[in-house]
């Protein structure tokens, strides 16, 4: 449209500050910017050490030198024929499976108990989380005293109650030492699993749980046919975390038994530490540490698949 001569085009004034797109408007840039710290963290502290570990496991690197000669799968061949390694592998599997089974049973029980309303529930929930919050080293030292060969609180208590007159050498007998390690691990891990399960239980619609009550299902039928199946995605996550945390944990074994007696309670991570760092054979240490990686990856994939399938089914 042509304007007559002398006519002025009037532009309505706008707030100048909002006329340009700000950083907050540009989601692509903002998104990358906000992700950058986490990305850097993962690359520097997880990614690079991980690649380095893989490279080390195929090298003859020893501590104190900078040599990095390629030796192929030699370390892996060595450790598979090493009886100590096989025992350690077995320990790791027993340790992981046993403690996870116990953790899930205890956590399911605790979650069911804690869900029922009772006086002081919040306080109990708080207390329950303590084992998770206490530093591993402190907790393990406390347990070391509980399992002490002379002062064992458990032994003295059993004796005082007249329940058991013998004497258990908790950390002296290979079988019992393994049990002691599993006990500590269960004690440490189950609060976390309980919290995850409690969160999962609150996510089940109340009406569904009430429907199962109305439908006349007993406690066990409700647990196994309604609550646990609906919890499966959450349980899977809890187990996955538990498996990864347990099978890669160094602290409890190292602080409690140092792998003893006679290297009988080593797990992969403690053996890797002993061979790689203390023994100086970085290559073999890395090979031992990485041995379970393929297994863990497969376990993770299977569990995540399973979890997704349940969600789709629901």
């Amino acid at each position: 449209m042509a304007l007559p001569d002398g006519a002025q085009v009037v532009v309505p004034p706008r707030a100048p500050a909002l006329r340009r797109a700000t950083l907050a408007d540009r989601e692509d840039v903002l998104g990358r910017l906000l992700l950058a710290p986490a990305f850097l963290y993962v690359i520097l502290l997880v990614g690079i050490p991980f690649v380095l570990a893989i490279m080390l496991s195929f090298s003859g690197a020893r501590s104190g030198t900078l040599s990095f000669d390629w030796v192929g799968a030699r370390h892996f061949r060595t450790i598979i024929s090493d009886a100590q390694f096989l025992l350690t592998l077995r320990n790791t599997l027993i340790f992981t499976v046993a403690s996870q089974v116990l953790v899930m049973i205890l956590a399911t029980t605790a979650a069911n108990v804690l869900e029922v309303a009772f006086f002081g529930k919040r306080a109990v929930r708080m207390l329950l989380l303590l084992p998770w919050a206490v530093p591993v080293s402190l907790a393990t030292m406390a347990w070391a005293w509980i399992f002490d060969s002379t002062f064992s609180v458990i032994n003295w208590t059993l004796r005082a109650l007249g329940l058991f007159q013998g004497w258990i050498y908790w950390l002296g007998d290979p079988e019992v030492a393994m049990l002691a390690i599993i006990i500590i691990h269960v004690w440490r891990m189950f609060p976390f699993a309980t919290v995850i399960l409690l969160a999962g239980m609150t996510a089940i619609p109340l009406e569904i749980r009430e429907a199962s009550v109305i439908d006349g299902a007993s406690f066990w039928r409700r647990l196994f046919h309604v609550n646990l199946p609906l919890l499966l995605p959450v349980v899977t996550v809890a187990v996955l975390f538990g498996v990864v945390f347990t099978s890669t944990d160094l602290s409890v074994v190292y602080l409690l038994t140092r792998g003893g007696p006679y290297n009988s309670t080593h797990v992969l991570s403690s053996l890797a530490f002993q061979r790689g760092i203390l023994g100086g054979d970085l290559g073999q240490g890395a090979a031992i540490a990485l041995f379970l990686l393929p297994v863990l990856v497969v376990v993770a994939i299977i569990m995540l698949r399973l979890a997704r399938r349940t969600e789709v089914g629901g």
Partner: protein, 345 residues
């Protein structure tokens, strides 16, 4: 004596009296609707009958048997359909319907037979293999009903089972629900806040407010003779008009009873009013007239008139017309208590 009965039933949450002394008698085979606004205690009342809530005090009995103390939900012989249907998302429709039968320890052949019988009843045989998320709202509702029916319960409890359906489906579902309840003849308690649903479904309606039952009666009874001003204004859409008559009296009349004076024969006793029209809504089947009564003693009282399409008299906004209410349709309420007074106004 009622088939389901509550006696002076209370449920208090701290200071809040969710249910505040309810005496209810549900007759065998009838469909009783608990109607009221949200928060009136109707759902809490039903949940106590189901056994999902423990009463603060009072008695509940089903088929002459006290159930309020120590009788768990599974032993009460009740089946409940929830607002969300509460189907088990990880089970197929078949397994959902089978669940209460399996819980009762019935043998597999019998379970299969009954599930298929229930499915046939609601026309969902071909859906039995599907998971709830693969079903539409209406189909889910049928699965939930089938799950309730297969157990052969003594009492059905329905908690707003139609509120998740869209408006068109709801009318059909309401019809079907009533139909099947009549076929089975099972005593049914039905909770809703929807007065149309209540009027359409109920053999009787119990109108609740603030934890108390305000009135129980047939839909017609409750509609025509509301016990108080709350029931009068809660039931009916648009609600009953209430106008001040004198210091002690409110007069109430239904919008469809407020009609142009000219359509009544002069011999019929009526109350006539001057109505100033503010707005006219054409709703197809009828016209809603919003206006004010222009009377010397009681000015500017808002009322609504509902004229059927058969009354073609032109009505213009801002004009004053003479309207009337037949004396027989006029109800009178005590202004102080809100209670209806017996007899003609």
């Amino acid at each position: 004596m009622g088939y389901v009965e509550t006696r002076d039933l209370h449920k208090h949450y701290g200071e809040v009296r969710a249910v505040d002394g309810v005496d209810l008698e549900v007759n065998e085979g009838e469909l009783l609707v608990l109607l009221g606004p949200s928060g009136c205690g109707k759902t809490t009342l039903m949940r106590m009958i189901a056994g999902l809530e423990v009463p603060t005090s009072g008695e509940i009995s089903i088929a002459g048997e006290r159930v309020d103390e120590g009788v768990p939900p599974r032993a009460r012989g009740i089946a409940m359909v929830f607002q969300s249907y509460a189907l088990y998302p990880h089970k197929t429709a078949f397994r959902n319907i089978a669940f209460p039968l399996e819980a009762a320890g019935q043998p597999p052949e019998r379970v299969k037979e009954r599930v298929q019988g229930g499915a046939r009843m609601f026309g969902i045989e071909r859906l039995l293999g599907r998971f709830p998320r693969q079903l539409s709202g209406g189909e889910r509702q049928r699965v939930a009903l089938a799950r309730a029916v297969v157990r052969d319960p003594r009492v059905f409890l329905f908690d707003e089972p139609l509120s998740n359906l869209d408006a068109q489906l709801r009318a059909i579902a309401r019809y079907e629900l009533k139909e099947f309840q009549r076929q089975l003849g099972t005593t049914t308690i039905y909770v809703t806040h929807d007065q149309v649903e209540a009027m359409g479904l109920g053999d009787r309606i119990a109108v609740m407010e603030k934890g108390r039952v305000r009135q129980i009666g047939t839909p017609q009874d409750v509609y025509d003779y509301p016990a108080d001003t709350f029931v009068a204004t809660f039931l009916g859409s648009p609600p009953m008009n209430l106008v001040e008559h004198d210091e002690r009296t409110l007069l109430g009349f239904r919008p469809e009873q407020l009609l142009p004076r000219s359509i009544f024969p002069s011999s019929q006793p009526v109350f006539s009013y001057h109505l100033r029209v503010r707005q006219v809504e054409h709703l197809g089947a009828d016209r809603l007239i919003y206006g004010y009564l222009e009377e010397e003693t009681r000015a500017d009282q808002p009322v609504i008139a509902d004229l059927p399409v058969t009354i073609t008299l032109p009505i213009a906004e801002q004009q004053v017309y003479e309207f009337a209410v037949p004396r027989s349709a006029m109800r009178s309420f005590d202004r102080a208590t809100g209670l209806r007074r017996d007899g003609a106004a």
